[in-house]
Amino acid sequence: MDPADTQAVAAGRTPDPGPRPPAVPVRLERITKRFGSFVAVEDLTLTIPAGQLVTLLGPSGCGKTTTLRMVAGLEHPTAGRVWLGDEDVTPLPASNRSVTMVFQSYALFPHLSVFENIAYGLRIARLRDADIRAQVADVLTLVGLPQVEARYPAQLSGGQQQRVALARALVMKPKVLLFDEPLSNLDAKLRKRVRAEIRELQRRLGITSIYVTHDQAEALALSDVVVVMNQGRVEQVGSPTDLYRRPATRFVADFIGEANLLPGHHEGGMVRVGSYTFAYTQEHAPSGDVAVMARPETIELHTDGDGLSGRIRTAFFMGTVTEYLVETPVGEVIVAEPLMPRGPLRSGEDVRLTFRPSGLYLLPAAT
């Protein structure tokens, strides 16, 4: 790892963000975007509260990047309006919105030095040279990268380039900051660290931010609010814990974390899965035929006693947990079990599965 990357974490502690424009909410009002006959985004209405970090999460092609680019002004909606605070910016080109963006490829200008990259927008705004120098120095300190002003992007590591891109976006003091999968070009370890830094910086500066990613772990770790999108529509909006524990649809349950969705029947507080019946309380739980969502880490395995019967097909030792694929009468169930005193179970063993109520959630069968 690069020394400057390590140093960045410490340097984040010298905050002098200076006064910024008050944070504004972003409101998307019945946005539709078509490319020819392909509908990228369909009738999307969404409010991003002022000062919060909202993640658009979904598989590729779900319309999340298109939505972000419409806020940026790089795409124009086929129908609907985009509001920044109480200003309708729909007809404005990207260059006239107070919005900046951190690109997936960083999009640093390869022929300009780090200083000139960051000063680019300030020069267009015709600031005085002295102001430009001061602001560039400040923002570089803010992102924890002093002393690289004279270098060129090609001379920086991936993590450093990413920070320069962030600095270039921040220095414009935008009303809204956009992130288009900014971490996908970093390796796994660095990604975790930069993720934490982005979160910390965003909280401190209180800039309304929209963050696009297809990595659910990143979305959960970063966001105040996560918007799960699928095929141009919003599946669910909620806090990370909400989405994890109370997914609104099968798609969300499946996309966020790992989930077993078992066919069951709910009546009068009793849930039956296969031959196993247990008591369950959940507000507004659907009754009749339901899909029982059980997270792998909330299922316990027993060698005897009560529970859903099954047989272990394969066991994968993964370090902190052992993951089992268990065959049951209602289908295959994934179980993640922490190291137990009895040691890992072997494939072929007969087991009983019990569910911890906190990890269960009932969905209507047909979602």
């Binding site: 006239n96 107070s98 963006m101 200008f109 022929h111 267009i124 705004a125 602001q135 976006a169």
Partner: protein, 753 residues
Amino acid sequence: MARTIALPLARSAPNATLIVWGGVTLLGSLALPWSRAGRDLFVFAPGSTGLELLRGAPLVVAVAVTAALAILIGTVPRPLWERGRLAVGLGVIGAVLTLGYLYGAGQPSGPAAVAALFGFLAILGGGMAWSGMLRTDAFLATSILWIAAFVLLFILYPLWTVLQASVLVKGALTLDAVRSTLKSPAFFLLNNPGTPRNETLVAAAAGITAAAAGGLFRLSRRPVTIGGVVRWTAGVGVLGWVLAVLYLAFGALRNSVLLAIVVGIAATALGFLFALLAERSRLRTKQLLGPFSILPIITPPFVLGLALIYMFGRSGFVTKEIVAFGPLGAAASGFLATGVFFGPLGVAVAQILAYAPIAYLVLQGVVQAMDAAMEEAAETLGASRWHVLRTVIWPLARPGIANAFLLVAIESLADFGNPIIVGGGVPFLATEVFFAIIGRFNPSEAAVYGVVLLIMTLSIFLVQRYWIGRRFYVTITGKPSAARPRPLPPALDYAASAIFLGWVLLILALYGSVFVGSVTRLWGFDYTLTLQHIRALSPTGWQVFWTSTKLSAYAAVPSMLLGFLIAYLVTRVDFPGRNGLEFGSMLSFAVPGTVMGIGYILAFNQGALLLTGTELILILAFVFRNMPVGIRSGVAAIHQIDRSLEEASTMLRANSPTTLRRIVMPLMVPALLSGLVFAFVRAMTAISQVIFLITPAHNLATTQILSYVEYGSLGRGAALASLLTVFMIAVVLALYAINRRLDTRAAARALMP
């Protein structure tokens, strides 16, 4: 620090674009002259400035008022979209008024007309951007309109006048010219009364024989189906008949088509062999492929024709010296002395030598893009190298081979220099266009020949672009595979290398003969070294060389800039009519130079557009002929630039001119430089499109070589051709020195027609 950075939103602030362009239009239309006294560019008609015309020309008054209104709406605070709509209205009205005045006055237009027209188009472009009619900004919208105006005026309008001239004789619509030209024996004649045999019957007999043979062949193959037999009978029959007609008939059409087919096949075969050599040979000879593929492309191709006369003409070096090689040599010498190379054979050989590199460059790209892993896979499945060649490489290369053939066929049909230098008076379509105008003073006939040529080349161009273009299995830009290319079968490798070496020696001998010819007293009779031809270049030769250099340099800058702007617009901006603009601007590549040339003399010979006889028309001809070079280099370079760089610039509040100037252009400097040099080289070596446009005052090096050769001063022709060749090589080497990258193939590909 600490202040929010102000947004240049300015919805109701004065609109600088409108005020500036309104001002340019107003001042230009009032202060500058509207017409010229004659052909001369800078001699203006007295009393033709807008101020002087105000009393007599109400349209000029209307133009000035419209421009003044544009300034007014730029200053009065209005919402942007409303200003936009008003500007669209004013732009359209102003442009129509300007065109109306120019058409009505019928005088050669002056600078006021240019200022007014482009000013109103700029106002219209700004209006379209602000009102949201075009989803782009004022700068790019104006660029689109200006370029569209250029393409209409300097590419489509001249072609339209050619079509028009073919059916308009003395102002009356008639098909007489078409009929008489197409019926003339110089155009096409099958049954020649001068020959004892009846060619129509012979061709029919050949067709029937071929049909029978085709049908019988299909019958011998299982399973026999009626459809199959019918298809084979009809197909082979028609093919046999067509070949027989091509073989037996007379006239320019037959000569050009037969030439194109023969040259296309031969050049493509050589090109494919060289491409295999370049990508799959184990021998070092392949390193010569780069330099030897670019040489015929950066020199005027007809230099090879000139060289053929030197080597194989009636008193050529080979013709005379080969006698020494015994009876066989004497026979060969006797054969050559009949002047066989001074006719279709000479043209064909010259064209094959000139165009094999084009086929090579196309096919080298195709073979290079083939994933060698497929060949490895075939070998692991037990295929021999011959088998791999036959079952993997050949099928994958087939669309590329068709593509190369069609490109060469277009070039051969359009070629003017070789047929006129070594054609020996045999009619070809491209030269008949010239002789109809220069020799027979019949513009209608020239136009008909031009239209025939245009239809043929355009249909080949369309087939090549839209049919073959989609059948490529491999993409040229593919990622190189890790697999190592498999070498050719050794027998093929050696044979192909031998052929290539022969080709290199021939090219060396031919260029060498031109160089030596320029310092030889009288080629074929007196080989004493002399500087007389080089001295004789003074003053005419040097003068035309300087004119060529000067005009080509003037033309190179706009060719490159327009080409790159078009490349940017068609790759990065989405606007209605984008495909049309791209097609229109690439069209001048597919149109034979002679056709464009007569288009220019017909279109710019009278009225408001009178430009013939000026240097400007030569420059314009170069610019719009070579703009596609810039477009092609530009598109290739822009594809290398990550689009998000431009988006990042936009999001940092740069407008499109700033993004172009500060981000796109700096990243394309090497490509811009190459585009500039290539446009220059192509202008220097051009002949067909300018042959009609030159005047004694503005003669060019290429046309001067031609007239030296026509009047028998071969020595001086060779001297000037050598000078041109050396200069072109020096220019291309200088480009490499600056760009610090020696990629002859990339250069040749960019220069390729």
